[in-house]
Symmetry: D2
Subunit: 426 residues, 4 copies
């Protein structure tokens, strides 16, 4: 019993830490900012706060807490995201049209659930159920941490729709020394193990551990910088179809892309919009808010390629998880890698690194059972894997086997570029 | 001087009355409700409050008030609606993405303008300028009253997007006696004068007074009721192309219309959503929230037609302006016409009556000079005239020569049907 | 009996003349040209040839000819255009996807119907039925003549989609003298009769004759020329929203209009595509292929306005129908009006003249009975009236009361501009 | 010299064989059928005939033939498909609007190129250039063979747009015995070589040969049949989101899919449209014209999965290329596998088998140099690999390492399903 209590206590503490962080993230917002959905990919902050809460209510309290009474029956409809097997849900595209419940009610909902979660975690529960509960709860916490990252990227996108570009927080000025140009670090070929061994938490899509043969390859020691990317732009990168995948070139033409998202020119000088407001383009910072298409085109222009996710994971296996994560409060890539241990720098945090790997299941993979099986598996098509976490990811949410995934045209995440190249076989 | 002062005082009082009414209308809202734009035709309540205020600032304070300092330079961009000649403006479709300025700042903006308007109206000003000022101010007040109607119709549409149909105010229950079936009142042919003689306020599109020859015609004594419209539905009205204009039938097919807007079936029984929440369909109420296409199809089904705007105006000339207007606080059509003077009933207020007249300029019409020339004239294409005011119109804003106009597919206004028919020539 | 025979013979001759003309119009085409539908508004030439034939089969042979056996049961589905009451029909937008029946079969269909029509018209038929038959047949002939105009405008649009701009026929070079600048001819106010008295053929939408009061007005003596329109372009006409109706300006922005349809610049010089191939812009020719929006914006830029259809008809009443019609084989506006009788020139033929009148029914109008009631009446919304016929109209199809109508954004018809202005009231 | 002549002669013979087959395929068409493009994915038969010809002209005659004069300068613009580096080209979506050149001219173009190709191949040419020429020519022939498959699938789609479903050829009736239910054949794990060793012709995307580790797996001995797929439909497969990838379910809802393409119900009985016209659904035939989404959903419903392309290739390595290919003239899947050698049946020909592998480059892959580098590489995103060839593929075009690829929603190819499953690790 004691162990259970301890384990439960520890979990409750984690729960409270995660929950507080969500609420801290929305502190700088006006109430008005909680409501809007500025494009199909984003959700209103209010919705994120409610949906993450609904996850615990639906998958934990209603399953494990005796005599639990739901907070509001309408919330199953309003705050289910995409679990088709759970029941009908409000169309994603219309999340920004729901002004009721109010933000205040959503905070009440959070409190209500927090109280009941604490009660549940402090109450006795059978060993059998405990294990199941803890498993779902851990998913729930990581789920909320994913939405914390989305909160930041969605708030950024929302505010950027305002022609006067309001800031979310103070600009964090720093004298970040340049790390100099990237070199390439070579890795040998071999049969390696990829995936998560399941000893610590991971999502279902990171399993099972499996063998992969890798040819020899080289990875860039540093991320591509704004300055390097600017050279691509100035060389006509956005005007030359030969660098682009066919779908990417269609995207360039259709969306009239001429630079990464959030870049704009004023008085002939490049600026970027950040959560700290606008500022002049810093040439030494890692380039950010590029789509897979742009990352891929840049690599082809540079005579290189993107790494596969297996190459990335193999090269970083065992490296300590440190970097410019959300806990730093920067919410912007800042690491130059100067004071890190090599041979690879800026690997964790800062920006998600696009890989050339489409998001598919690992050999022998089994999705979660039940509704949570929809969590990751049903998106295994038309998306590309990103690795490494970003400045909007919590380090406690991250592990090197983490597989993030987005459609190749998406740019509102903190996504950047690390190059790779083949080793010529002799 | 005394006369001027009196006139100015009177105008200030009107100003304050109109301004207060806008603020009263948004009293029942949550702060969240101020932000959203639920379709292209609607605007966020916050935007209405700011735009109507900007109108005075731009066209009066900046023109007539010495040393006036603008409240916020960004507002010219954000709160100009469509005056191309005034400068660039925020795209209409994106009004719901602007969370800053906050609602609070918009109220501060209103106060700031109100103070400066009071100062201006209480200060001395040359006779010459006074006349011009009063003319623009009167337009400004009627402009705000138009937006008050839009506030109500937009709030209704916004709230209706919520699947749980929240009410804006309490349901107003009333025992409204049925007026019985409509009969037809005949009017003789002749050469009549149509349009406004300009002795009291009117918009530029109501002038000049001009001659029109009318053949003999008959007008229905009452509005079409929900019960009568239901008979059309039950006779397959929405499934038989022969009743519909070609564009109307395309609309029926594309939008899958099966009833007026805000009607829905629950447990096989028709209900309607009103600003007082949902209720069962009242068969005696005037039918409301129909498009021109539906009004026209209904008329053809009934073997009648819609009146022209000239027929409507001629028949109602000289009738006292009384009816179920916004001042009643109903915001829903309620009049049965039982206690009115005939021969035509339910003529003013309740619902805007679609006419068969496209919105074009009167012969010899001159639009306002300058930017205000864009107020009405540039919409004279693809829109139909509606007459009579509605339950969301202020009676002080209305006169029988008033020409409202909307595209024939629009349904979110309080729009209904009065039938007409030809008199057979012998 | 003799009279009937004569009347029938005369009608048969008309029938054969109209039918031959359709076939003559498609002589210059490749078989491939018969098939395509290059935008929603156009139809494949094959379809026009079959649809006009189907009209006689459906409304005449199947109604009046004893023991008539249909040519092919599928044609009711394929070649009904929009008669909802007749039965289901192939979606308009998919007319270009139907390769079978072949063009050859369509010509066989035409012959088959022609033989049966001749048989019917040469056979005895009761007086009672004869009258009805002749009425429908006359509609059928005018219907085919309308489609002859569409054949020309659709072929032009189809061929213009080819980047190498093939010609339909030889360029007709002519030394057309300039008529000089337009002056304005004044007409007095009064109560006038408008509409067709029914003594010769007209469509249902031209009736009944009815009274209209007109204020005094002036009509331009000539059509607006390419040279005059070019001045509008060079003055930034397509870049200044103040000249445009709101919907027109949206169209300019959305479609990136910078000139009339078929104008293009090569080596900085304006050219136009005509059915005779491309040629340099002739400044003296009437401007053509403009939308209502462009006509209206041009008029506002010029400080004038477009005439109403009543003003147009009143001014031209009684003028002899002569001009540059389809019979001339030009299929391009060429008349300078120099040798015509005044005071108004270039009135019939050349280009359809946009009026400021929306297309609505005349007071007391009764559409045709039965399916033919769909012929004109169901389009009385969102369209503008054009008057005067064009170089693609047969003069035998035209009369001064003719009301053509198109949506205000359409440009593929031979549509041009005659200005009008108010007479200042004293 | 002799060897060269022989090699060149042999190549010329191959050239003539391939060229004749294209022309044989369009024999059953009406001239009208050559023109249309019935959806974005298809091209007009005329275009296929011209584009394949242009390929030889552009990449061979203009490169290798001295004093070669192009047939028509416009064809570089009209018949370049997507080679951005070669020059501008006509938008794909508008291929069906080009009626000139005529079909006849396109056949003349083919003859002209054939004559010059024969001249070139019969002339002496340096050894150095010969090698290069033969390489490009071999690509050109396989390129034309790819378009032969597209000719068949596009003609099928075009004709299916006709509501009366015309046949391309006679229905081929056959008594095909049922092969009975599928069983599963197990393959062991190991490190295997995948890809083409380059000893015979292959595309750039099949190289290089590279090592892949495979876990143990099982492959279905037979293709999924119509009867089996029908059980999925009848179990509500198209109505249950739990079987579908997220993008697939969106596709089902948006496109209202209820069965494979070309299935339709008449009198409550399932029929299919084939190039031989319509016929009743044959339960024993392999299911065909399903998207990847449907294949994947079917597999999940059946408790299985799709194979990876590596699993597929490894299992079929070394099997003789025999099956129901285009040479049979069936153009419809017919093989039951009954008389084939096992353990896997219906492997080559019949239908392309969707794999669960996204189309990406093999490790160390190098695209062709120059413009031909656009041939395959730029499509390596958002597409899935299909394996095995179909009834519309020429067997001379096929090899077991062949990687076909299409977007997961495409259905107009002859695409079907072979299931796989994991072997439980013990």
């Amino acid at each position: 019993m004691k162990t259970q209590a301890t384990e439960m206590n520890k979990m409750l503490k984690s729960y409270q830490t995660v929950r507080s962080f969500s609420e801290m993230l929305v502190q700088p917002l006006n109430l008005e900012d909680f409501i809007i959905q500025s494009m199909e990919d984003t959700s209103p902050p209010k919705w994120h706060l409610a949906h993450t809460t609904w996850f615990y209510e639906k998958f934990i309290l209603k399953e494990f807490a005796e005599d639990y009474r739901g907070f509001n029956d309408q919330f199953d409809y309003l705050f289910n995201s995409y679990y088709e097997t759970v029941g009908p849900f409000h169309p994603r595209i219309q999340r920004g049209l729901i002004t009721r419940p109010s933000v205040e009610e959503v905070f009440e909902y959070r409190s209500y659930i927090d109280v009941h979660m604490a009660d549940l975690l402090e109450s006795g529960i059978s060993e059998e159920k405990k294990k199941e509960l803890l498993q779902v709860l851990e998913i729930g916490l990581h789920h909320e941490q994913q939405h914390q990252e989305l909160l930041l990227t969605d708030i950024k996108y929302n505010l950027s729709q305002n022609p006067f570009l309001p800031a979310y927080q103070e600009q964090k000025e720093r004298n970040k020394p340049s790390a100099g140009a990237s070199t390439y670090f070579e890795l040998k070929s071999g049969l390696f193990e990829i995936g998560n061994n399941g000893e610590t938490f991971c999502f279902d899509n990171e399993t099972p551990l499996h063998k992969v043969w890798l040819e020899p390859y080289k990875l860039a020691t540093h991320l591509v910088t704004n300055g390097e990317y600017l050279a691509f732009i100035e060389d006509g990168g956005y005007k030359k179809p030969q660098f682009w995948l066919s779908d990417g070139w269609s995207g360039v033409c259709k969306n009239q892309w001429e630079s990464p998202l959030y870049w704009f020119k004023r008085d002939d000088e490049w600026h970027v919009y950040t959560l700290g407001g606008e500022k002049k383009l810093d040439h030494d910072e890692p380039v950010c808010h590029v789509s897979f298409y742009e990352a891929d085109a840049y690599a082809r222009w540079a005579g290189k390629r993107l790494p596969t996710e297996q190459e990335w994971e193999h090269a970083l296996a065992g490296k300590k998880v440190e970097g410019n994560f959300a806990e730093s409060g920067n919410y912007h890539p800042v690491s130059s890698g100067l004071h890190e241990d090599g041979p690879l720098y800026q690997t964790f945090g800062d920006v998600w690194e696009w890989t050339k790997s489409p998001y598919v299941s690992y050999p022998g993979n089994k999705p979660y059972e039940g509704a949570l099986g929809e969590y990751n598996a049903k998106f295994m098509c038309n998306q590309m894997v990103l690795r490494g976490g970003s400045c909007a990811t919590s380090s406690s949410h991250f592990r090197p086997t983490y597989r993030n995934f987005f459609q190749p045209e998406k740019r509102w995440q903190f996504s950047g570029i690390r190059l790779a190249e083949d080793v010529k076989r002799t």
